[in-house]
Symmetry: C2
Subunit: 377 residues, 2 copies
């Protein structure tokens, strides 16, 4: 295990990117002497390496960065069948990829992982020695130790100690996490939120997920439920939701809800793309659906801004569309429902991501535990 200073250094580099020893020393509140020693140790461990030399006045500075091949992590997504499985390096790059069948039995999952691991690692023999962790992303609630699945409707689980089961069978340090929270961690470590201390990620998909980073750390909430915006009441007295109440954001603005509303209106749209096209051609039903959905998502995001004042909101989506009517209405609804003083002050970025997003997020959970240690909420 690394010392706390070493972890802190990795975290700072992870957040601010490649930096010189002098800069790092200053930003960690340490002397140059202490920095020198800590960097030396991490370089000889193969975790850090010297990259560019930057010329200014005086002796040039040498930037230190995480060594891409200094540590490897495995990430598995239990959101799809077959379940994607990736091998990620220290920069979040995917260096190998496989899939394994999905099961609902935790022991079977652990066995399948143990079988698949050697094949995943086969091409990268160095990775096997530097494999420092395994992460699993799933739909459901996870406890604060990132070890037990408290509840998962999708998998039909209740209090399943999945991490320990996998750890025992595979021999690798394992952590599990909720899907949206895993994506947020991945954006914090490797994505566009690296240098932002407070932000929220909204994952727009068949369901709507959300997770918060606060003070540079993932905030899980007291029952692991922080960020569950899908079931906030956005249309009081609206349509019934599978959760048991009415008017949840999920019933109006999720991709699944949008598709179902389109079907109910007799539209033959297979994708959001089709629906946007219909709307742009003037189809009233399509326009109505997209308007209602965009408005609902915008209102929820406005609440998020009013309640938490994040530095950024990042919306990730695989097959959504934010450049049409839906996105426009959503942005307008946000601006119309935050304090006028704050309108336009919170950047809202949308990002199209590939299907690896969940497995990549899972891997970043393992990397996060290696880099920073467990989250203390």
């Amino acid at each position: 295990m690394l010392t706390s200073s070493q972890q802190q250094l990795l975290r700072v580099i992870g957040q601010s990117g490649p930096s010189s020893r002098t800069v790092l020393a200053a930003s960690m509140g340490l002397s140059k002497a202490a920095m020198s020693g800590i960097a030396r140790d991490l370089i000889s461990l193969g975790v850090l390496h010297e990259t560019e030399t930057v010329h200014g006045q005086g002796r040039p500075s040498i930037l230190l960065d995480l060594h891409p091949e200094g540590a490897f992590f495995v990430g598995i997504s239990l959101l799809e069948d077959p379940a994607p499985m990736v091998l990620s390096d220290f920069n979040g790059n995917i260096v190998a990829r496989r899939a394994m069948p999905l099961s609902r039995d935790p022991d079977v999952i652990a066995d399948l992982i143990s079988e698949a691991l050697p094949k995943l690692l086969a091409r990268r023999k160095d990775a096997a020695q530097k494999l420092y962790g395994l992460g699993v992303a799933l739909s459901g609630f996870v406890d604060e130790k990132q070890a037990n699945c408290v509840q998962s409707t999708l998998l039909g689980w209740q209090d399943v100690p999945l991490a320990n089961i996998i750890r025992r069978k595979s021999g690798i340090d394992t952590f599990i996490e909720n899907d949206a929270k895993a994506v947020a961690v991945s954006e914090k470590l490797f994505g566009s939120a690296r240098d932002i201390r407070n932000f929220s990620v909204v994952s727009f998909d068949d369901g709507i997920g959300c997770a918060h980073f606060i003070g540079g750390q993932l905030y899980r909430g007291n029952h692991g439920g922080a960020g569950e915006i899908a079931h906030c009441t956005i249309e009081p007295g609206g349509s019934p939701c599978r959760c048991g109440k009415r008017g949840c954001l999920d019933t109006v603005a999720s991709l699944k809800a949008i598709k179902e509303m389109a079907k109910a209106e007799g539209l033959s749209c297979r994708s959001m793309n089709d629906l946007e096209t219909e709307a742009s051609l003037g189809n009233a039903a399509a326009i109505r659906i997209l308007h209602r959905a965009g408005n609902a998502l915008g209102l929820a995001i406005a609440h998020l801004i009013q309640f938490n004042d994040p530095g950024m909101i990042l919306i990730t989506h695989v097959e959504g569309r934010f450049d049409g009517l839906f996105g426009t209405v959503m942005r307008q609804a946000v601006e119309a429902n935050v304090l006028p003083r704050y309108a336009g002050q919170t950047p809202i970025r949308t990002r199209r991501v590939d299907g690896d997003i969940w497995a990549r997020g899972a891997a970043s959970i393992a990397a996060h535990n290696f880099l920073i240690g467990p989250t203390p909420n």
Copy 2:
């Protein structure tokens, strides 16, 4: 200034109450030897003292606690005229009280404080020597250094470096904070939220304020705006608000709004008490108003729970009432609008507080900076 270990010790005692050296050592992850030394230093500084001896098996343990007279803080509220001014000991008890005229000129405020200080301290000569900080609570936005007032509608300010002005004229370490955030800090340090890491305080008054503690720390938000639930849209398309948009929580559920709605309905109610009495006698207008307001506040709190999953919500009020129709409807609305799985999982406490609440909160801001240091958001 105290070392980080000393600060950590004070913080732990502040959170868990009086404890023995051995227990403290364990909970801070230090050896008994280190603990012994740190405690010795703080006792000789007069900040800690030995209280009870607890007998079990083996040598009895001696509990350490903050010395009530080990440090004193001044708190001033700029929310009322005259402005209340209190002297608080290390346990949050108010040991002296004065008032000073309110001004909108920062320099005048600093002069008034400097003049009033000796009189406040006159009766407690020991306090003058152990006065470690001064806090100011105001309505408006404050920067993350708790030094500058970014904006205050009530005071008509824009970027006023109030803390430094007061510090220069009075010679005392000064910090300013938003009113609701100051109350939250006071509840965390001295009130009913001492041992809760994640909670939100809602202050119900003429306006509605709110502040979050996350991970044991005050979360200020990226622009200092975290917790501004008063202006979240709770009735889309509802009544215009002074902020410029429509349907804000503030227009429906604040004490001021409730009184105004009562007046508009021709009711001669002077207080919430009167209105609740009217409602209990069957007055339809009173019932309608309280229902609407309770429902709105409940929905906002439900959103808060869905978004942030806090461990407690504490509603403070000076002249509100939560034991009648308003409170009942509010609680019902909360339960009806959170995920059924979470219903009843988040304790909602209401607490009637005295008029000292803001000045006490201001003093606790100073105590917080002494105990824990600046908040790093």
